[in-house]
């Protein structure tokens, strides 16, 4: 049952990821990315990381992708026009895909040869908010505060960058 769920999710994930990079319409690409991120959240749940899965939905699909969609609609982008005629494009994309496939194959070879060992039993409360929060506020408190500062910059920066007329 778990294997079937994983294989189904993997097939759907690869399908939607390919749609993201191949579909000419940017809105459809964005929606395919939303689907990919949502499916990834389900994979996170399969791996027991419930809080990260829910955070993935809140942050990625609920905020970042909405921002992407807003910008695409604001700029009123249509389908991407082809630079060259389709035969040349197919050859070039095939070439890029082959290189990508070789990269993926090398990564898989690396994974297959890695000494991963047995999976340990999940500790009590794994995947919940308490363990992550405890770690965030004790071991990782400096990166946590710096991330807060980074988000402050990320709020002010785009407002300044996207202003009209350099006021």
């Amino acid at each position: 049952m778990g294997t079937f769920a994983f294989l189904l999710l993997a097939a759907l994930l690869i399908g939607s990821a390919l749609t993201v990079i191949l579909h000419p319409n940017p809105v459809k690409s964005a929606m395919a990315l939303v689907a990919t991120l949502f499916l990834l959240a389900i994979v996170f749940v399969l791996l027991g990381a419930h809080m990260i899965a829910v955070l993935q939905i809140i942050v990625y699909t609920g905020a970042i992708m909405v921002l992407f969609l807003f910008v695409i609609m604001l700029l009123n982008l249509g389908d991407e026009e082809a630079a060259t005629e389709w035969r040349r494009r197919v050859v070039l994309r095939g070439l890029a895909g082959t290189v990508g496939g070789i990269v993926a194959l090398q990564l898989v070879r690396l994974i297959a040869g890695a000494p991963l060992g047995r999976m340990v039993d999940a500790p009590e409360g794994y995947g919940g908010a308490v363990l992550v929060a405890r770690s965030l506020f004790t071991d990782y408190v400096l990166p946590f505060e710096l991330t807060g500062l980074l988000l402050l910059v990320a709020v002010i920066g785009p407002v300044v960058l996207a202003q009209r007329g350099g006021r």
Binding site: K28, V54, G62, V66, L69, M73
Partner: protein, 366 residues
């Protein structure tokens, strides 16, 4: 294993039926109730048996005739519209709202045949975050609904609607943070159980007593999230016809309207769970009535469970009726007033509430 699957399916089915039927009942309450408030008759065209009663309750019209009409209507897709997105938008509008109910507990435990069934569809340890996640997914229905139809008025409504929704999500989230701080857990069933205490054996210690400000913020932000009056500028019934769902007809429009009512039910369910003790009946514990003055009345288990589920349903229904009352009493907010309310009033208020709650908790603990 198959028993577990069957029980999970039954719970999911029960929650789904609860929200669907509540939406239908609320549709009737809205039409006839608004007619009562506005001193008119409301829907009364469809009659059965030639009028047994001197007045028409509007049941047939609202619950039978209108749905059949909507089902039979032609699904008109405007020219230049994106067909895939036009098909997807109603689904994305209604799906997150329905699945939010998976995290809400509608009862305590049901002990049947030696098996303890937790009356909550998904016993999530991060239930409140899950609710926030699903409400942030609801933005897609609005955005795609306006974009897919290639109509500028729909796009206007969609942009307004999505900006409003993401603005009020902040205040909503912070109100939930205050509630989480009070109970120290994200699990909604645990929060429901923690509201079973009574102050001095008399006053039920529901969440609204600990966090009245958070309750008000949740209610206001929730009404804004579901884009109901007084925050219904994205629908703008007098300006944009129907805003982001103008160009949808037939079942797709029915789906959008269903999402409106279902979101009302979800907001009411959230408020009931966090601030009104979910399924808690005052003085009722698992074994029976513990009345003030030391009186104890034992009750059979099934009666207790039935009372608790009925209590939850009643609380949700009353909160929904309150939202309907608000709809027909208040005028609409102008868009800049709406955004000011969300960012300049509710957000600082919610933040201040969180700070005050934190201070009180630290002082109380020491």
């Amino acid at each position: 294993m198959w028993t577990d699957v069957g029980i999970a399916f039954a719970k999911a089915f029960a929650a789904f039926m609860l929200i669907l039927n509540m939406s239908a009942v609320l549709l009737w309450v809205e039409r006839k109730g608004s007619a009562l408030i506005q001193d008119r008759i409301g829907a009364n065209r469809a009659n059965i048996f030639g009028g047994l009663l001197p007045f028409n309750l509007g049941f047939i019209n609202t619950l039978l005739a209108d749905p059949i009409k909507l089902l039979m209507k032609e699904d008109a897709i405007p020219e230049g519209a994106d067909r895939t997105l036009h098909f997807l938008a109603p689904f994305l509008a209604v799906f997150p709202v329905f699945v939010t109910f998976a995290a809400m507990p509608f009862g305590d435990v049901l002990i049947v045949g030696g098996r303890e069934i937790n009356l909550q569809v998904a016993a999530l340890d991060v239930g409140i975050l899950y609710v926030l996640a699903m409400s942030s997914l609801a933005v897609y229905g609005v955005v795609l609904g306006g974009w897919a139809t290639n109509s500028r008025w729909s796009l206007l409504g969609a942009v307004r609607g999505s900006a409003q929704m993401i603005s009020y999500e902040l205040a909503l989230g912070l109100a939930l943070v205050a509630a989480v701080m009070t109970y120290g857990t994200l699990d909604m069933q645990a929060i429901a159980r923690a509201q079973g205490e009574h102050l001095g054996g008399v006053l039920p210690l529901w969440g609204v007593i600990y966090q009245p400000v958070a309750f008000l913020i949740l209610l206001i932000a929730g009404i804004a999230e579901s884009k109901r009056v007084p925050f219904d500028l994205p629908e703008g019934e007098s300006e944009l016809i129907a805003g982001y769902f103008t160009e949808y007809s037939g079942m797709k429009q029915a789906t959008f309207m269903l999402s409106d009512f279902a979101e009302t039910v979800v907001v009411a369910g959230l408020a009931a769970t966090l601030f009104f003790g979910a399924w808690q009946v005052p003085f009722l514990a698992r074994d029976g009535w513990h009345l003030p003055g030391g009186l104890f009345l034992a009750m059979p288990h099934l009666a207790v469970v039935g009372l608790q589920v009925a209590a939850f349903t009643l609380k949700v229904f009353l909160l929904c009726c309150f939202q309907i009352l608000v709809r027909w009493s208040l005028p609409r907010y102008r868009y800049d007033q709406l955004m000011d309310l969300g960012w300049k009033f509710l957000l600082p208020l919610a933040l201040a509430n969180v700070v005050v709650t934190a201070v009180v908790i630290v002082l109380w603990a020491s």
